[in-house]
């Protein structure tokens, strides 16, 4: 078992633990922290995939900003353990779980059906990225081929910022009456 294989399994287990905890734990703060854990794990996995820059961005955006926001908001809310953390209705619960199970089965089936193909691919590690981290290539392609999407995202972010501010200022949403 060479180093990188070990690294992969280690990180995979870590990330999975984080993700599952996020979903299963009843205290939202714990699940937020677990989510942060999972995020860090994912970014580490990015590193194992030579996507150093993305790993950093992943840390900054998700672990550094998004999840911190979650934690802060939760702390402001100060929620106790929920009495009914999970959906109560028997039937709908069953149906939903069934859906999840179906999706899982389908996904695994898909991967299994095509795994030999993937194994063929995985025989050839990346060449276009020129070995080291492809930060420069990423920048080039981002600003040439995907420039339109990039601009659109910029606009999206602006709108979102404005909307968030507006929501935060409005006293309790649409039902405000004082």
């Amino acid at each position: 078992m060479s180093a990188d294989v070990f690294l992969f399994w280690f990180l995979a287990i870590l990330t999975l633990a984080g993700g599952l905890t996020t979903v299963l734990v009843t205290n939202p703060i714990y699940s937020a922290l677990a989510l942060a854990f999972a995020m860090i794990g994912v970014s580490a996995l990015f590193v194992t995939l030579n996507a150093y820059f993305l790993a950093g961005v992943q840390l900054i955006v998700y672990a550094g900003a998004v999840t911190v926001l979650f934690v802060m908001v939760l702390m402001m809310f100060d929620l106790k353990h929920e009495i009914t953390a999970f959906t109560r209705g028997k039937f709908t619960g069953l149906v939903k779980s069934g859906t999840v199970a179906l999706l899982a089965g389908i996904l695994v089936g898909a991967i299994a059906m095509t795994s030999d193909l993937f194994l063929k691919i995985s025989g050839t590690p990346e060449v276009a990225l020129g070995g080291g981290d492809g930060t420069k290539e990423l920048g080039k392609i981002l600003f040439s081929k995907y420039i339109f999407g990039f601009e659109a995202l910029g606009i999206l972010l602006l709108i979102v910022a404005i909307g968030a501010v507006a929501l935060a200022r409005s006293k309790g949403g649409t039902h405000a009456k004082q």
């Binding site: 859906t99 089936g109 059906m113």
Partner: protein, 644 residues
Amino acid sequence: MTQQTLMAILILSPLVGFLINGVRYKKHSAEVAGAIATGAAVISFISALIMVIDLVGMPAEERRITVQFFDWITIEKLKISAGFTLDQISAIMVLVVTGVGSLIHLFSIGYMRHDKGVAKYFSYLNLFLFNMLLLVLGDNLLVMFVGWEGVGLCSYLLIGFWFTDKEKAAAGMKAFITNRVGDAAFLLGMFVLFLTFGTLNFQEINHMVPLTSELMWMAPITLGTLFLFIGATGKSAQIPLYVWLPDAMAGPTPVSALIHAATMVTAGVYMIIRLNPLFMMAPNTMMVIAIIGGLTAVLAATIGMTQWDIKKVLAYSTVSQLGYMFLACGVGAFGAALFHLMTHAFFKALMFLGSGSVIHAMHEEQDIRKMGGLKKHLPYTHATFFVGWLAIIGAPLLSGFFSKDEILWQSFHSPRGHVLFWIMGVLGAVMTAFYMTRLMALTFWGKSRVSKDVHPHESPMIMLIPLIVLAILSAVGGWIGIPHIISEILPGQPGNILETWLEPLIKAVPGTEAGEPSQEWALMATSVTLAAISAFVAFHFYVKDPAKPKKVAESLGKVYEVVYNKYFVDEAYFGWIINPLVKLSKGIWYYVDVNFIDKTTYVVADLVRGGGQFVRGMQNGNIQQYAMYIGLGVVAMMTYVLMR
């Protein structure tokens, strides 16, 4: 200035006038509006004159100014450009349209001064001029068709100008709808021609025409020309679609002069002349045209003899003169047709304007039974009208004489012609002389039957000037087309200017041999003498002993009734065409629309509502359920992708 700018000015200046007058038309006073409109007309007349002078300057073979402004429609095979061409034919037509148009604008200033919507009137007039120019100058059938429709629209607007009066509005609608019938045929003709030649451009069509004979395209050409001719009957008031023109007299008199005598109604003739090589290839169509033309000439003349409304008389006279032109086209004398078109434009416009002046003087009184002896009241009007009368009845050396004589001679002499056509023509001429003399007599001569409370007065100068100019024109206008036999005896043998001018575009009918001068002299003498006699008879009837006509009418009895009621053509149309149509469409409305289509749509609507009710149940606001639907959708899609 380049030809392009000149052409643009020529065509667009009436449009500009229309826009200026049309915007805020309530604000302009009669003088301002009239000045603007007349100015626009005059400007385009001047530019037309300049261009025609250039045209004369050119060598005879390539006398053609073609201006392509832009590509209008380009669908892969159909390429139509907003192109305009000025050649020998359109040159004459443009001069007539803009010149007579300007005069009539001038006249209208005086005539319409006391009307409220005067600016609206002038804007319509300018719009008409613009469309007429499109029609005349367009170098392909589609541009011509645009103008064709446009003049129809303007004629509708102007006939129904006093739309508060129900009958006048109805007259406008009648004109419009009757024209529609013709326009549909015109469109069909265009389609056929496009299918046959793959183009709508006049030059190209006329160039292709010689090839058609060996390509065996006779059938489509005959069909297309027939359709086009039906369109022409619509626009130019021929049997069977002439009924709208007499009612069109509901409009203001200058409008009748401009649209329903001088320019628009001759559009059909112009179109046929424009495509003369094509029609030349379709002898059957030509025969039909000749017959229809001759019949119309006679029929309208008979009706004209019995009418009491001054403008109605003139209207029927117009119809019969148009009949002459079609007769000429039918026998292949396109040059003669164009010639008569021009002269007729002069003297008919003159007479309409004169009648307008009379009506003006009589305070909107149009019944000639209530006139008479106006000679002393309005001398200038009478003088000019007199010239017009001489011209139309074909008194020698006046314009009408030359053109009409040309037509008669051709209808007898041309290989496509026949003695019957000549007889029709002569009949028409005789009757024309009769009713025109009757009109003159009842209106100007004899003793006055004017009611006491009306005080006729001479019209202002601004109305007389056009009359005088037109009178001069209708006196001398015919001298550009003096037939050879006369020009030979004249000093210096001027020859037939018009013929030489049109020569490159209008070829004589194949197989025309040189005419026998003595024969021609004989025919001319016959027609003139007959016309003179009938004129004298009419004079005797209506001036010497006015009791006579009544006796004659009674002696004729039924016949007179029928003729007086215009052969009951309108009633026939109503009884056999219009009412059944109305019934049919009512039935369709009730049984198809209400009982079938609406019902089905209701059923569909109910289905949709039911479905919505059902779906609404799923939409219970439980977001997680929505997410579940999404998940199921994903599962379905993936299963499909995997199983595929």
